[in-house]
Structure formats: structure tokens, C-alpha cells
Amino acid sequence: MNVIALILLGSVVVVPAVALWSLHWASRTGEFRLLNRAALLPFDDEEPVGQATDQILNRGGDRR
């Protein structure tokens, strides 16, 4: 058995373990709470949710 094979096989065990642990940690410490807050981050007062911005092309017709 080659070193590389061992490392690959080892990582098959270690990587999911680390992933599971970090998921557990994340849910315990509230990383997944208030996701809406994070999702709303791009919006601000000037350009709030529910308002499309940057609508500058093909507006000529509407104006007249």
C-alpha cells in the first residue's frame, strides 16, 4: 500500500468527520440562525428590498 493511497483513504475518513463536526458546531453556535439577515446584506436604505435598480435602458418609450 502506497503512501498516497493511505493519505487518500485517511482523508475519506477525516474530511467527513471534520465536516460533520463543523456542521454541528455551526448549528450549536447559531451560525444558521437569522439567515435572512445575511441574505439582506446587499440591500440598504438607498436600494432597498423590493425595488429594482439600474433600470436605465429602453425607457424612452415610457417617458413619452
Partner: protein, 265 residues
């Protein structure tokens, strides 16, 4: 949010050009909108999860099957089901011509095609054609074998056109069998129809011309009988006695011994 941001900042200080004092007016320039509220943190779709699981399974099996044991010297991903060892010109009928043509193909592509082109028509003004060439199709292969062994230099007329270029010697690149195969290939391809050439013929000419270093000239070759000659008898008529002597001197002792034995036979 830090405390100081609650204090209204001076908008003029915020803009280094200080041209707009009214922040609302300033931002009006970038406000163009239409209402449409929505929000989302949709859970994962079940089908997506299934798809990912299938991919992961495939990845594992592909990795185990085609990794060549993670060895540094295993270059084929198929070592579980190895390809048959490549044999050039293995089977292909009993006909020696067919066999030789098959074995000669890769040799032609490697050594000859760069100049004489894949279709054997050469390049006008540069490299003479092999297709229909009187030099190739001569009754016997004595001249063509010599050309392949030692190359050719100086002007030569082929199919009515004159060419003046330099052809390589291939005596070190190919052994007798290979030269026999490639000459047979040339004599039986591009519409050519000629007899097969045997390795023995090549060997005989190779031995007879062993001392030769320079490429042939067309004039010299004209002096070589197109066919005939057998073991050791292929010494070209054009050679003088002195030339032969010199050639013998140049031979390594062992080769000379073998040659003498051959002649004695």
C-alpha cells in the same frame, strides 16, 4: 455598528470633490426602481441530494478503478484490463508483400513522409515524388536500397523533372528488416506496383557498401545494376579496386572477418 456612525457625517467631507451637498439629491442619481418583494432560504431539493450522492459514488469507484495503484511508474489507467502488447505488422495474411507493407507504414510516416509527403507525391521543385518514380520502380531494388541506406545528394531527374536537394542517410535509424519493409511499402503504395524486398538483400548491400560515408549522387547510382547480385556480389561496378581496398581498411576487424567468411562461402 460602531458608535461614531450614528453621528451624522458631513456629506461634503465624504466626497472629495465636495460638489454635492445634498445627499438625497446625490443618491437620486442612482435610484431607479420598481417594487417586488421576496426573500428566501429554501431548503435543498431532495433530487439534488440524490444526484450528489450518485456523483460521489461514481467518484469513488472511478478513482479506485483507474488510478493505476497510485504508482509513479503506472501510466495506463487501464492496468486492470491491459491492452494487448503492441506488435507492429503482426498478422495480416500470409502474403509477404502485404505483411511488409503493413510493417513499413509507420516507418514511412516517420522517416519519409516529412519530405516525400503522405501521398508519396513529394513537393514540386523540392522533394521528388515516389509515386510512379522510375528510381523506385526499377526492376531490382539495388539503387533504392542504397539511397535509403546512405542518402542522396546533388541533382537527380525523376519523372522528367530535376531536383537538387539533400536526402538523409538512414543506415543507423533502421535495421535491415525495417529498411526492407519500408522499401517494399514504397514499391507497393501510391499506385506503385513492385516486387517485395527482403532483409537479406538489404543486408548484402549494407555489407558491401559498409565503408560509404557520403550520400550517393545520381550519376554514381546510374552505374549500379538495377538488379542482380547476391551474397557479397552486390559490389557496385563503379567501385574501383582502390575504393574497395580503402573500404576494407575502414572496416572493424570483426566485421572484416565475417565478411571474409561470407565471401569464402
Amino acid at each position: 455598528m460602531s458608535a461614531d456612525s450614528n453621528r451624522p457625517l458631513d456629506p461634503a467631507a465624504a466626497l472629495d470633490r465636495g460638489e454635492a451637498t445634498d445627499v438625497v439629491q446625490m443618491h437620486a442619481a442612482v435610484q431607479r426602481e420598481r417594487p417586488e418583494p421576496m426573500e428566501g432560504s429554501e431548503p435543498l431539493n431532495l433530487w439534488l441530494v440524490v444526484f450528489i450522492a450518485v456523483l460521489l459514488f461514481w467518484a469513488g469507484s472511478y478513482l479506485t478503478q483507474y488510478s493505476g495503484g497510485f504508482r509513479a511508474d503506472e501510466f495506463s489507467e487501464n492496468q486492470i484490463n491491459p491492452a494487448p502488447p503492441p506488435v507492429v505488422g503482426g498478422s495480416g495474411g500470409d502474403d509477404p508483400v502485404t505483411k511488409a507493407v503493413k510493417a513499413g507504414t509507420p516507418l514511412y510516416v516517420t522517416y519519409c513522409a516529412p519530405c516525400h509527403q503522405g501521398d508519396g507525391n513529394g513537393v514540386a521543385g523540392q522533394f521528388p515524388p515516389l509515386a510512379g518514380s522510375e528510381w523506385v520502380l526499377a526492376e531490382g531494388p539495388n539503387r533504392i536500397i542504397r539511397i535509403v541506406l546512405h542518402g542522396l545528394g546533388g541533382p537527380i531527374t525523376v519523372k522528367g523533372s530535376t531536383y537538387n536537394n539533400q536526402m538523409n542517410a538512414f543506415r543507423d535509424s533502421m535495421d535491415d528488416v525495417q529498411i526492407a519493409n519500408v522499401v517494399t511499402y514504397i514499391r507497393n503504395s501510391f499506385g506503385n506496383k513492385g516486387s517485395a524486398v527482403s532483409a537479406a538483400e538489404v543486408a548484402a548491400i549494407r555489407t558491401a557498401t559498409a565503408a560509404r560515408v557520403d550520400p550517393w549522387s545520381a550519376a554514381e547510382l546510374e552505374g549500379v545494376a538495377v538488379s542482380g547480385g547476391g551474397e557479397g556480389a552486390a559490389a557496385p561496378a563503379a567501385l574501383t579496386v582502390d575504393q574497395i581496398k580503402e573500404a576494407l581498411k575502414a572496416l572493424p576487424a570483426e566485421d572484416l572477418k565475417t565478411l571474409l567468411q561470407d565471401v569464402a562461402k
